[in-house]
């Protein structure tokens, strides 16, 4: 069996610290396979992450990697991309990292259409700190800080990205591995802000609190509730209720990325790119 993706990992940093059954490894592998499929030059590819379970992925990946502070991956990544536009910059973030503490950066990264590929590992919970509710914990689901069920309405990060100006928005799950990989790969192709929500199972923190501590059970939930975008669009409104959610390319539009737009500023100011 071809395991060419292994060359993209720092073998001496493995095994990883994720729990048995965690979906983060699947999503991380999907990223490197997307990188491989697009033939990105490894020396010119930078992986930037925030803080949390998802964000430990950067340490295992054999590229220039940056493990930033909680919520701040997108500003750091923006700086890298603008300072050296020839670099491919991929951001790995989590639901808490991206939509809570880093929410403002997420919105404005989308708005600027910085040429980044942001992959959000959505495990519906704060895993690293032991299972607190995040903005993407479904309402009513339990967490250590939501012992009676989450009160808050949930964020749809994809709709948020679309509204804020991202030019490529997609969703997939750890169950749909090849689909997830292709969603990320297509995001790498987009010269602009690409956002991919990768739903991942967290049996330890989220599953256990919500009577789904078996990772297989969580993945079956993904299989049963994910609906391909084309099919989703044909569903009557009453069938879009409950746990069901669309996966696939959710939104795409043409747009000028920030570094290209700034090149125009440099031209106007009479400076040559140096």
């Amino acid at each position: 069996m071809e395991r060419s993706f292994e060359q993209y990992f720092r073998q001496n940093r493995l095994p990883h610290l994720w729990c048995p059954g965690c979906g983060n490894g699947i999503a991380t592998k999907a990223i490197v396979q997307a990188i491989e499929s697009k033939g990105l030059e490894r020396d010119k590819t930078v992986i930037v992450s925030g803080i949390g379970c998802s964000s430990r992925a950067s340490g295992y990946m054999d590229f220039d990697t940056l493990h930033t502070a909680h919520g701040r991956a997108i500003p750091f990544a923006t700086g890298i991309k603008l300072a050296n536009p020839e670099l491919n910059v991929i951001v790995i973030t989590g639901d808490g990292d991206c939509t809570a503490i880093g929410g403002n950066h997420f919105i404005h990264g989308c708005r600027r259409n910085v040429d980044l590929t942001v992959v959000l590992f959505n495990n519906n919970i704060y895993g690293m700190t032991g299972g607190q509710a995040s903005p993407m914990t479904p309402t009513g689901k339990k967490a250590t800080t939501a012992p009676y069920g989450a009160v808050d309405p949930v964020f749809d990060a994809c709709r948020l990205a679309e509204a804020a100006g991202a030019t490529y928005v997609a969703r997939s799950t750890a169950y749909h591995v090849q689909h997830l990989t292709s969603m990320i790969a297509d995001g790498l192709d987009n010269k602009g802000f690409s956002f991919i929500e990768a739903m991942v199972q967290c049996p330890t923190a989220y599953g256990r609190k919500n009577k789904m501590s078996d990772p297989v059970q969580l993945m079956m939930w993904m299989r049963d509730n994910a609906v391909m975008k084309a099919a989703w669009d044909k569903l009557p409104e009453d069938k879009k209720q409950g746990d069901r959610f669309p996966i696939g390319l959710l939104y795409q539009e043409a747009g000028v990325d920030y570094a290209t737009a700034y090149d125009h500023v440099i031209d106007l100011a009479g400076g040559a790119a140096k």
Binding site: K44, L66, I74, P75, I80, K274
Partner: protein, 382 residues
């Protein structure tokens, strides 16, 4: 023709940073520092650099750290409230050893305070604003020309020591316009970005210290595949949960600055040859203190001034030597009393140390400092 021209302190700061090689600025508007961002927005694209106005102060700090890691010398500027927000990432820069300069044009605090009024109340914040044990370099100019010069120094120190440097300006100097003559480009010494000494194949370790205890960390995109984290890490850059590595890492962060302390601690003396008393001042306040010293000299009082250009690391040796040779020290600062505690500590009881503090939105008048000098002298002659 003379190159002399009227220039504002904030403008000179931006010019200095640019002259030192800054090619990236990320910021957020805040009085009284905004002219720095405005200057950079105008000048950076002219030299092929980039300016980005971020969504908030935290993002401004993050974006400059990212740009620095990708190889560009980077600057951000703000004032008290914004600097408070940046603190976590200032600590990140200290821990991950990322060169960056943060300008704080101080205004009256705490909180929103008095946005357009001068203060020097962020002296201790500059030192201890971020959490945990970390070194800090902070410089404070007293003139428009020195705003240029200290901006150059700040960029050079940040590169040389791979550490965040705070340029601790105040509204007095930031908004002041005065006659200034800037140096030519070839008169300015620039410390280049440090480069790795060996290849990955030769066993390169990004956080292995060079002889001066500063690591030669590769910029992103050069094939070194380094890992940068705010977690305590060993020489490979990867986190380690070891007490020994933790202690050694924190030791080295401090020691790399400590061994260069004499070289980076700048103080200047005025009228000190025969002085029996000394005024210690810094930043915009030193301008008024000097005028008071000159007035006291007119009255026959043997007083001089020691001006701190480097605020952190504190000029322990200079102040200790000073305390050994004068009968008393007057510390003037535009706050409730911050640097006075450092002066007292360094003076270690060798002479009395008194405080002349002001924190009411207005700057000192020379008469106020003169009066405090006279009171110090009267006490000393009792």
């Amino acid at each position: 023709m003379s190159k002399a021209r009227l220039m504002q302190g904030n403008e000179a700061c931006a010019e200095g940073a640019l002259a030192a090689g800054v090619r990236f600025f990320g910021g957020y508007p805040i009085t009284p520092s905004t002219e720095i961002a405005e200057g950079m927005a105008k000048m950076l694209p002219k030299v092929g650099g980039k300016f980005v106005q971020m969504e908030d102060e935290i993002a401004s700090m993050g974006v400059v750290l990212g740009a620095s890691l990708a190889g560009k010398k980077a600057l951000t500027a703000s004032s008290g409230p914004g600097i408070s927000l940046k603190q976590e990432l200032i600590g990140y820069a200290a821990a991950a050893e990322i060169p960056v300069v943060i300008v704080n044009v101080q205004r009256v605090g705490p909180s929103t305070g008095q946005p357009t009024a001068p203060s020097q109340g962020d002296v201790m914040q500059a030192r201890w604003g971020t959490h945990g044990d970390h070194p800090m370099i902070a410089l404070s100019p007293w003139s428009v020309r020195e705003a240029f010069d200290t901006a150059v120094m700040a960029v050079n120190y940040s590169e040389r020591f791979r550490t965040p440097v705070i340029l601790l300006m105040d509204e007095i100097v930031g908004h002041l316009r005065e006659k200034v003559e800037l140096p030519e480009a070839d008169e300015i010494e620039i410390y280049p970005r440090r480069q790795p000494g060996c290849t990955p194949a030769e066993g390169y370790r990004p956080y292995a210290p060079a002889e001066d205890l500063v690591p030669n960390i590769a910029d992103f995109g050069n094939g070194y595949h380094i890992h940068v984290t705010g977690l305590i890490h060993d020489e490979t850059g990867f986190p380690v949960g070891s007490p020994k590595v933790t202690r050694e890492a924190i030791d080295r962060l401090h020691t790399k600055i400590e061994i260069a302390r004499d070289e980076i601690t700048h103080v200047e003396e005025y009228c000190m040859e025969d002085a029996e008393y000394a005024v210690v001042a810094f930043g915009g306040t030193a301008r008024t203190a000097y005028e008071a010293v000159l007035a006291a000299r007119q009255k026959g009082i043997k007083v001089g001034m020691v001006r701190l250009i480097t605020i952190w690391p504190f000029a322990d040796q200079a102040i200790s030597d000073l305390a050994a040779r004068v009968k008393g020290i007057l510390v003037t600062e535009l706050n409730y009393g911050q640097i006075v505690n450092e002066v007292e500590r360094a003076a270690a009881g060798q002479c009395p140390v008194e405080l002349c503090a002001k924190y009411d939105m207005t700057i000192f008048e020379p008469e106020e400092i003169l009066e405090a000098v006279e009171s110090l002298v009267a006490g000393g002659n009792k």
